[in-house]
Structure formats: structure tokens, C-alpha cells
Subunit: 249 residues, 2 copies
């Protein structure tokens, strides 16, 4: 157990997310995975396929956090520019990665290994490959930046393969107390509990019930199970004291 | 028709998104709406419920783009700090908004109008309310920053109510050519078309078919319908020339 907090940012690269055409799901997947290994996700950004923007944002984030996870832009088409932009961010050359080349030579006949596919074998000089068990074209790690695919199934496989090697801390655990009291009625009691549990992050998330009316999920997150359980008990009791019927999830 | 390009950023505020607990869908909704009124969404950020971070990010984004849309953090609980942080960003006082107070006085009995609910009637001084036809607690506009709820149904209603007043340009239109050729086979032809149509944004998005194997959506976006249709025809012909069977969506 260590006091050092490890932090991360997610950088979603792609016009298709900013146009609303594609619903991103990679952020939530990475976020949950990071919580499991005790790495704190501090921010996420979504940016377009513009090299200057990608390079500048990679540099800003990698200086600020322990880990940066990028998704998108590593295919063979003209809009797949992440590798060259990450190379630019690091002031590194974009080179033909011999290990990636061997992977591709095993997949494609020589006449199929065209310029576009060879582009996918390029990484910044010094990068280590991230395996892609789904569709084989690899991602790569350059310094503290993990460059992954945008397709969720591929991204998930890549992230799962790098996750065990991340330095983190105790997993961030979560408890949920659901109830049907209005937020305005529980706000004071909840705030009082938050004040007494500075090490627990307490959030209140109202939602619509399908049958009509609001419900609220009170979510507690922390690394110390005993403290988390104590705070959760207090929240449940507070709900009960206000006439509510708390459900622990 | 104007040459002026109007730009926007989305700022998603909330620990629940960064923990992976909640899957954000507001970004895609706002993105699609902005495309419809010809406002270009340049970036999105997801940040935690930390006032200094919220204020600094609001200031960075509002200086850089025509519009900033924030989601989340305007309820009555202790983690709802967006209004005070936006006030801080603008160097404005957080004041009891008389119009919001009237709304709340119409909903709640005097004894129900507790401190937590009165918090929701506070806005930065000079803000204009954004109506909430779903659950009534309003959002607000301060300068070029639109502060909206996090609950999707409420956020959507708020966004829809401000959208008609945004200055934009011609709608950004979209065409999709779907095919089952591998990206590596079409990359060269697609890149050539992109080079000749600098005003059209062409993206290539591979996906898994349910039955197995890859398919690719080639998405073209632009403001000039004639140019867009011409480029789409060229993409479809290119796919056909490579033995593919293009489907226009």
C-alpha cells in the first residue's frame, strides 16, 4: 500500500465523436478499469483529427498525469493520423516498426501489403507495441502514452492487455444507496456526512423512473472498505430517518 | 450564408462520468444538435466536481470558442457546485435569482423551500435562466456559457430551448457509404478523393458485423449539398471499382 496517487487522462481522438455520429463508450470502459487498479482518472478530452491539436493535447496531458490513454486514429486511412501526431508530440521519428511489420507479413500476402497497410506498421521510434488479439493491427506505448484503437472491441482488448502493468493503488470501491426521496430533502444530511468523510467521494445522481417520478442514487466511492461501509450505513440511516426506504446496491 | 464559422465546446462536469459509473450521452446529443444549426463542435472535456478545475476550464473554453455548453452539477446537493464555479470563472457574485425563486415558490410550500433548494435558485449575477420544462429547476446562460443539467431528459429539453437562438451557419450534412471491403484496400482511393475535396470531411469507420467480419462506414460531411453529393458518388464508384458493393445510407 502506498500513498502515491497515480493519475490518468483519456484522450478520445476522432471527428466521428464530435459530430455526434458515434456514441463513445471507450471512456466508461477505461474509467472502470482504472478504478479497479486504483488509478485516478482526472479528465478526458475529445478532440478532432487535427495533428497540431493532437500533438499539443498529448503533450499537455502526458506532462500532467502518470498515464495517458488515447483511442482512435490508428487505422490505414488518411484520417488515421494518431501515430504521426504522437511522434510529433515526442519529437520522435515515425519509423517502420520491425515487429509490427512481421505481424503484418504473417497476415498479408506481399502484394496485399500496400502503402496504406504499411502505414499501420509505423510507430514513433522507441515505441513498444500493444497486442491486438482481435484484429491484429497493434497499438503502441510511447513513454506514458498508450495509443489504442477506436473500435470498442479492439480497444478493450488492448486496454486489458496493458492494465496489469499499470502502477496504481488500492482499488477504488463503490457503494450505492438508492431511494425515492427528492434530492432537496436529503441534501443537508448528505452534505453533513460528506463533511465527516472527507476520504469518501459521495455523489447524488437523480434519474427518472420508467413508471414516472424521480429516484436518486447516492453513490459512495473510496479505497478503504471499512470507512466506505461506515459512510454507506450513515447514508442509509439518514434516508430512513427522513421516511425513505433505502436500497443498498 | 456567411463565411464566419461559429465554434463550440462541451464541458461535461461530474465524477460519475470519470468513474465510469455513468455512460455520458449528452455529448452526442449536443453534437448532433450543433451540426444541425451549423455550429462546429471543436472539443469536449470531462472534468471532476472540483471548483478550481471547473472555473479554469470554463475560462479556457469560453475564451477560445463562441459557445460553451456545460452539463451536470446544478442540483441541490453538496456535489452540485457548477453555478458557484461558473460565477467564480466570471468573477461574478453568486446571487439569489429572483426569477428562479418565483419558479420555486410556485412549486414548493414555504416549509419545503429549504437551504438546499434555495441553492438551486442561485446564479451568477447577470445570468439569464434556461427553462426546464421537464423538472422545472432551470439552467442558466452567463455570457457565452450555457449551464445545463446532467440528467439527459432535462439536458435535452434545455439544449433544445437554447438551440434556436444560436448563431451558426448552414447545417453540416452527412452521407454514409457502407461497404465490406477492408479499409486497407480502399485507403488509397479514399485519400485521393479527400485530397480533391478539401471542403468535405471524409472519415472511415470500421466496425464488426454481428455475423462476423468487418464492415466499413465511409462518412462524408460538409455544408454544400452539391459538393457532398459529388464526393459521395466518387466514393461509391471507387468502392465499386474495387469489387465492393456500396450501400448509400
Amino acid at each position: 500500500m502506498t500513498d502515491r496517487i497515480y493519475t490518468a487522462a483519456v484522450l478520445v481522438i476522432g471527428n466521428e465523436i464530435l459530430s455526434g455520429r458515434t456514441q463513445d463508450t471507450n471512456l466508461a470502459y477505461i474509467a472502470q478499469g482504472l478504478a479497479g487498479v486504483g488509478v485516478i482518472l482526472k479528465e478526458a478530452r475529445v478532440i478532432p483529427d487535427v495533428c497540431a491539436t493532437i500533438a499539443a493535447t498529448v503533450n499537455e496531458l502526458r506532462a500532467q498525469y502518470d498515464y495517458v490513454f488515447t483511442t482512435g486514429g490508428i487505422g490505414p486511412t488518411h484520417d488515421d493520423i494518431t501515430a504521426e501526431c504522437v511522434a510529433r508530440a515526442f519529437g520522435a521519428k515515425l519509423v517502420l516498426n520491425q515487429e509490427a511489420l512481421k505481424l503484418f507479413q504473417a497476415i498479408f500476402k506481399p502484394e496485399e501489403l500496400n502503402e496504406a497497410r504499411l502505414r499501420m506498421c509505423h510507430t514513433p521510434e522507441g515505441a513498444a507495441l500493444i497486442a491486438n488479439p482481435v484484429s491484429r493491427a497493434p497499438g503502441f506505448q510511447m513513454g506514458n502514452v498508450f495509443v489504442m484503437a477506436g473500435i470498442p472491441r479492439v480497444m478493450q482488448a488492448m486496454f486489458d492487455s496493458v492494465k496489469p502493468n499499470l502502477k496504481g493503488g488500492p482499488a477504488v470501491l463503490s457503494r450505492t444507496v438508492a431511494c425515492e426521496l427528492p434530492e432537496g430533502a436529503i441534501a443537508k444530511g448528505l452534505g453533513d456526512i460528506q463533511t465527516r468523510y472527507a476520504d469518501i467521494d459521495i455523489g447524488s445522481y437523480p434519474m427518472f423512473r420508467r413508471g414516472g417520478g424521480f429516484a436518486v442514487n447516492l453513490v459512495l466511492r473510496g479505497r478503504d472498505p471499512a470507512r466506505l461501509d461506515a459512510a454507506t450505513q450513515e447514508v442509509a440511516e439518514m434516508v430512513r430517518s427522513l421516511g425513505g426506504n433505502p436500497t443498498l446496491e
